[in-house]
Symmetry: C2
Amino acid sequence: MAAPLSERKQQILRAVVVNYIKTAEPVGSRTVSRAYKMGLSSATIRNEMADLEDLGYLSQPHTSAGRIPSQTGYRYYVDNLMDPDDLSADDELAISSSLSTEKMREIEQIINNSARVLSSATNQTSLIMGPQFRKSAFHQLRILPLDEKRGLVVLITDTGFIKNKVIDMQQQLSQAELHQVVSYLNQKLYGLTIDQVTSSLINELKRDLFKRLEILEQAFILLEESLKEEKQIRVFLGGTTNILNQPEFKDVDKIRRMLNLFEQEPLLFKILEDSSSEDDIVVSIGEENEYEDIQECTLITGTYKIHDKTLGTVGVLGPTRMDYSRVISVMRRLVGYLNQSLSS
Amino acid sequence: MAAPLSERKQQILRAVVVNYIKTAEPVGSRTVSRAYKMGLSSATIRNEMADLEDLGYLSQPHTSAGRIPSQTGYRYYVDNLMDPDDLSADDELAISSSLSTEKMREIEQIINNSARVLSSATNQTSLIMGPQFRKSAFHQLRILPLDEKRGLVVLITDTGFIKNKVIDMQQQLSQAELHQVVSYLNQKLYGLTIDQVTSSLINELKRDLFKRLEILEQAFILLEESLKEEKQIRVFLGGTTNILNQPEFKDVDKIRRMLNLFEQEPLLFKILEDSSSEDDIVVSIGEENEYEDIQECTLITGTYKIHDKTLGTVGVLGPTRMDYSRVISVMRRLVGYLNQSLSS
DNA sequence: TTTAGCACTCTATCTTGCAGAGTGCTAAAA
DNA sequence: TTTTAGCACTCTGCAAGATAGAGTGCTAAA
C-alpha cells in the first residue's frame, strides 16, 4: 500500500479526483488525456488507470464506465496531491463582512452567522459546536436582591457566559452577611472550570457555610442545574438543505437518514468532538468516520479558541466527493476570523 | 356554493375524505360502496360523485382515476362532517408524561419538548413560537456593579424573561445616585410592554436624566438592543423529517423548498402569527394560506397562554391530506397541558 | 330512482431496441 | 520496452411500444 506512486500516476489520480469532484460523473481516459494535456493518448492513460484501480485508488461503478476515486484515493489526494485553494476576493469579503463588520455582542449570534457563512461558501452543511459552558472557568458569582422575597443569582465565566436565575429567599439576610458569603464563594471557586465544580466540592462548601445554608441553597441549585442543563451543548447547523443539491443524495431515503441525524443534537456533538483535534484541521473520509450514518460522507473539522483556550468545534459535512481544498481554505479563514472576533 | 348537500352526498364526501386521508390514493366508487355499506351500488355512488365534482368538492387527477377531495371539500369536511377524534390512552400518556412529569424550569425546554411531542403524535412537522418577549410587560430594571469599570444591567419582565448585558461604565457613579436613577426608570416603565418602550419614549427619558446620561447610555443600549435583537423570535421546529414520509413530498424539489422554508425563522414567525387567532384553533387549508410556499399544505394553529395572557402560537404543518380530527385533538390537549404547566 | 353492463381512457410497468460512452486487449509503431 | 491505434465488447440510459388494471361515463333495463 505504501509503494510510492510514479509522478505520472499521481498526475492522473489528481486529474480523476479533481474532475470527479467537479462533475460528479465517472471520469474516462479520454477526458483525462484531453483536458490535462500531458502528451499521452487515452490508451496509455487507460493502462495507468487500470493500475491505479489495482492499487486501490480508483474504482469502477460498472465495467464500461469511467473511474471514480475510492476512499483511499481521496485520502492520497488530500495528503499528497491537493494544492491549496486561494479564496477569491468575493469569498474573502463574504466571510469577513458577515463576521467582523457588525458589532455582535451575542456569542450565539456570532456562531449562527458563522454556520451560515461556512455552509454557503462551501455549499455543504456546516455544524458548529457552541462554546462549552462546562469547560469555562468560574469567574464571578453575584447575588442581587430583587425584593424582600427574591434575589437574582448571576454566574459569570471567563468566556463571557452569563447565567442567571431568580431564587426565592426564605430567610432574610443582611447586606453585609450576604456580601460575606458571596465573597467567600468567589474566593473558593475562582478559576475553576465548571466541570471541576463537582457536587462533592459543593457539599464541602455547604458544610463550611452551614449557618447560612438555607438562603444559599438556591444559589447552589443554580450551580448544580447549570451542570446538568448544559450537558447537551447546542450545535448550530447551517445549510442543511445543501445536501439536497448533491447528486449522491437524490435518494429520498438517504435524505431522510441524514436529516434525522441533524435532529439529534447530542449525537452531532459527539461526532464533532470525537473527530476533531485542537491543533489543526482534521479530514475524516468515508469509513474513517466512526459513526455509521456518515460513512458515505466526509467530515472536516477545526476548532476555534478564545485567548488560546479551545472553545468549540467547527465542522463541514458532505459527500466524500467534496471540494476538499476549498472547504479547508474556507474553514481555515473562518476559524481565523472567529478567534479574532471572539477575543475582543 | 352554499346549496346544502343532501345527507347522502355528505356521507359520500366524508367517506372519500376519510379514505383519502388514510390511503393517499384516489378513492373509487367501488371502494366507497363496499367499505361504507350504505346499501348503494357503485354506479349510484358514481353519479353522486360526479355531482360532488361539479359542485367543486371533489376532483379527479385524470379521467379514469378515483376522486380526491378538493380544497373546498376539505373545508366542508372540517366545518361540517368531521367527528372529534378521541385520543387513545397511549397518546394521552405520551403528551402528559413528556410535559408535566419532569420539573422543567426552563421555558425553552418546555417549548422544545412540546414541539417534539406534537410532531411525533401527529406525524407532521410542528412549529412553536416561543414566548414573545416584545409583548411582555416591563417589570423591573436593575443595575448591578461588577467591578470599578463594569456593571450588569438586568431587565425582568412579567412573563419571567430575564435579559442581561454587561456594560462598561466610563464614569463612576455613587451607589445612591445609581439607585435614584434606576428607581426613576422603574417607575416610568413599569407595566409597559416592551413594544411600548419606543425610542421616542427612551429619548424622553434621556432628556429627563441628561445629567447622568453618560453612564446610562449603556443601559439604554440594552433596552434598544433588546428591541432589535428579539425582532426575530425563535420558532421551535419538531419533526421536520416527517414531511419526507408523506407521499406528496416524494419530489426532491418540493422537499427542498419546504426545508428551505424551515430555515427561515422570521418567515415562519410571520406565517404563524398571521394565521393564528387568540381564541381557538384555526385551520388554514391550501390556498387559504397567504404564503405561496405552503399553499399545498394545511396549517393548523392554536395559542398558549400564561395567566390568560397569550404568549405564543403552536402550529402543525403538513399536506392538505392530513388527519384533521387527530391533529386538532392532539393540539387542543397539548395546549391545555402547556397552559397549565406554564402557569405554575 | 337505482342498477347492471360495457366500452373507453388513462396510468404504471415491463420489454425491447438502440445510441453513446468507455473499457480491455492485441498488434503495430516508436 | 513503451506508447499508440484500432476494434470488439459491455453496460447504461432513454425512448417506443405492449399490456394489465383500475375506474369512469353512459345506456338501457329493473
